[in-house]
């Protein structure tokens, strides 16, 4: 009885972290993440707003890349984790399939990479324009952390070893 209990505990942790990430996700993409001040003009944009802007300007490729890799895939990965950990009633085969899917998605979800991009921008542009981070940065960092915790806590053995 001990082993399943461990699995359950890991599943609980995964679910907790993944749900936290989901809660933070809207704040991370909807709220302004950057506030740029240049020549007296004040401009602030959120991640989603930035993507919409890119679409408007005709940069469809970049827009789609960002949309898919830093919004859709990370979200899918988190949701998959929740499904795996929470819906313990799932059929084993289905769970295994979801797990493999999640593994694949995980490789392509680049939310944390975006954080790095922001950091690079901060260093590169700090002399040219004045800008500061918006409230979304907090949500974004927490969201990345939470999804990482969820991924770490997840014990793939649970899929096969649980009853």
């Amino acid at each position: 009885m001990d082993i399943p209990r461990n699995h359950e505990r890991s599943q609980g942790r995964t679910a907790a972290a993944a749900i936290a990430a989901v809660l933070l996700f809207p704040a991370a993409i909807l709220l302004p993440i950057l506030e740029v001040e240049q020549l007296g003009h004040h401009h602030q944009s959120s991640i989603l707003g930035g993507i919409i802007e890119l679409f408007r300007n005709g940069n469809y490729f970049v827009a789609i890349v960002i949309l898919v890799f830093s919004i859709l895939l990370p979200l899918a990965k988190i949701l998959a984790l929740i499904e795996l950990s929470w819906l313990c009633t799932l059929q084993q085969r289905h769970r295994a399939w979801t797990y493999r899917l999640m593994e694949q998605i995980g490789k392509w979800s680049m939310m944390d990479v975006m954080l790095l991009a922001l950091l690079v921008m901060l260093i590169k542009l700090s002399g040219l324009v004045q800008f500061h981070f918006g409230p979304a940065v907090v949500a974004f960092v927490l969201c990345v952390t939470m999804s990482m915790i969820a991924a770490i806590c997840f014990d793939p053995h649970a899929i096969w070893e649980s009853p």
Binding site: G12, R13, A15, L24, P26, A27, P32, H41, T89, Q91
Partner: protein, 501 residues
């Protein structure tokens, strides 16, 4: 969840599955599993994260100003990110600007800064600032090179919030400064009068023409004028206004004579005004005057002395409030008892005593015993009911000039009497003459006397003949704005007009 054998979370796939495929393992899960599942302490973190998320949304909402739309007839080259400014600082930015659906105007979406949220309320006026050249000023020069911007005339405080506005085509007529006096002048013809033309008093600008328009019935031209707050006391009921627009060219024996004041006035016109030497009470906003074509010679000679200026408007509520006082007594003349009285003004003090001219307390020697009465503030005092504190009447060198006396009374005086702080009464006249104000119960009758019109004599300060101080001013307290003290009282008789102490 009440039955231990059912799955905690029924899944859509789990229900049809049991008969169709392999053993439904998941069905064996029970409630205790669920409890263990929720046992993880990480759930607290989830709760915290949820709260952080909500908090951030709330914070962000606090920090983003409201979005308003302003409809303009012309865009004038306004672009997104152009600013909305008030008093020279940015209080918002244009987010986007687009054609309206009817295609007869543009709509600007403006994001206000959080602090300026209250600006979006009923009564706010918006216009696009663009370079403009006019006779007396060049406006919006900054927009010639820099970006256009939207300017705002803010709504009054407490107006109802609103988010859709209709912008003005051009800058609104200069909204009069708070506290300025708005009057309207009716003229037979426009006579070269322009919006913004100055209103002059002795060639000094005291206000502006706000708007010139035809009267409702088209019988006259109406000029709406705003007099600056500090000069509103100059405008009296009997003031005269005349148009001195443009310039007059006179050709006569003496030669050619060009009559114009300043270039700006020559081009935009101006209104000159005068107030008679005996100023009537002041007027309130909305008063109408007739605008004459030219002044009468008499008007130009008027020399009223009126308290005005910022110092005065600040002082006005703090001026001493004199009240009437009368001394009544009986005399025996030709064997008959006759009633005599003299009346002037007195100043109640905060310590309960009353300050007035000494003659107001001392009845003449000829008065019958016990017949004197002092009447003021609705009380009548017999000699036993008041006590004279000090009078210098007897010591006075010149018996025709009386000095100031002070008395107290045990009788209750009405509460509505304004009492002057006793520490703001000077013991004697200042060593050197200074600008003074003669306080009056009616604030429009307050007389200002320049130090140059006062002459120091051993008895007191003599008032120049030019200053209009008549018998009615006898006994009024004299206030020095410099010292903010009552320094003496006016004394008027047939020969002399003085300030005594």
């Amino acid at each position: 969840m009440n039955e231990p054998d059912t799955p905690p979370v029924p899944n859509a796939e789990a229900i049809p599955d049991p008969n169709a495929e392999a053993i439904p393992v998941a069905l064996l899960q029970t409630n205790p599993t669920m409890t263990r599942w929720f046992a993880s302490r990480l759930w607290w973190l989830t709760l915290v994260c949820g709260m952080v998320s909500l908090g951030l949304f709330w914070y962000s909402r606090q920090n983003t100003g409201s979005l308003i739309t302003i409809a303009f007839r012309e865009g004038h080259g306004l672009k997104p990110e152009d600013r909305l400014t008030y008093r020279g600082i940015e209080i918002g930015a244009v987010e986007k600007i687009e054609l309206n659906p009817e295609r007869d105007g543009v709509v600007a979406h403006v994001r206000l800064t959080p602090r300026a949220r209250s600006m979006a309320a009923d009564g706010a006026k918006f216009w696009i600032v663009r370079p403009m050249l006019s006779i007396d000023a060049i406006r919006g020069l900054d927009t010639l090179l820099g970006a256009k911007y939207i300017a705002i005339d803010p709504p009054s405080v407490g107006a109802r919030a609103q988010s859709h506005f209709v912008g003005l085509d051009s800058a609104p007529i200069i909204s009069p400064v708070d506290g300025s006096l708005e009057i309207s002048l009716d003229a037979k013809s426009r006579g070269g009068l322009e919006n913004g033309a100055p209103i002059l008093f002795r060639g000094f600008r005291i206000g502006n023409v706000v708007q010139v328009s035809l009267a409702m019935d088209a019988r006259t031209v109406r000029a709406r004028c705003a007099i600056d707050p500090e000069y509103r006391d100059i405008i009296r009921n009997n003031s005269k206004f005349w148009n001195r627009s443009g310039w007059r060219l006179e050709f006569g024996l003496s030669g050619l004579k060009l009559d114009a004041d300043t270039l700006a006035q020559m081009l935009s016109g101006g209104i000159e005004m005068a107030t008679p030497s005996e100023p009537a009470p002041g007027v309130s906003t909305g008063h109408r005057f007739f605008l004459y074509d030219k002044p009468e010679a008499e008007w130009l000679a008027w020399q009223p002395s009126m308290a005005h200026g910022q110092a005065w408007s600040r002082l006005a509520p703090k001026m001493p409030q004199p009240i009437r006082i009368a001394l009544r007594w009986q005399e025996r003349s030709f064997g008959f008892r006759t009633n005599q009285q003299r009346s002037s003004w007195c100043l109640p003090l905060s310590d309960g005593s009353v300050l007035c001219l000494a003659e107001q307390i001392d009845a003449p020697k000829s008065a019958l015993a016990d017949s004197t009465r002092i009447e003021f503030a609705g009380v009548s005092l017999s000699p036993s009911q008041f006590q004279v504190l000090n009078t210098t009447s007897e010591a006075s060198q010149d018996s025709s000039v009386d000095k100031v006396g002070r008395f107290t009374t045990s009788e209750p005086i009405a509460d509505d009497v304004v009492r002057w702080p006793v520490d703001r009464v000077a013991g004697k006249l200042p060593d050197a003459v200074c600008d003074v104000l003669i306080a009056h119960a009616d604030s429009s009758s307050v007389v200002a006397i320049d130090a140059g019109r006062l002459k120091k004599t051993p008895m007191g300060w003599e008032i120049d003949d030019q200053v209009l101080v008549d018998r009615d001013y006898h006994g009024l307290p004299v206030f020095s704005s410099e010292a903010s003290q009552v320094i003496g009282f006016v004394f008027v008789n047939k020969q002399k007009r003085m300030i005594v102490r």
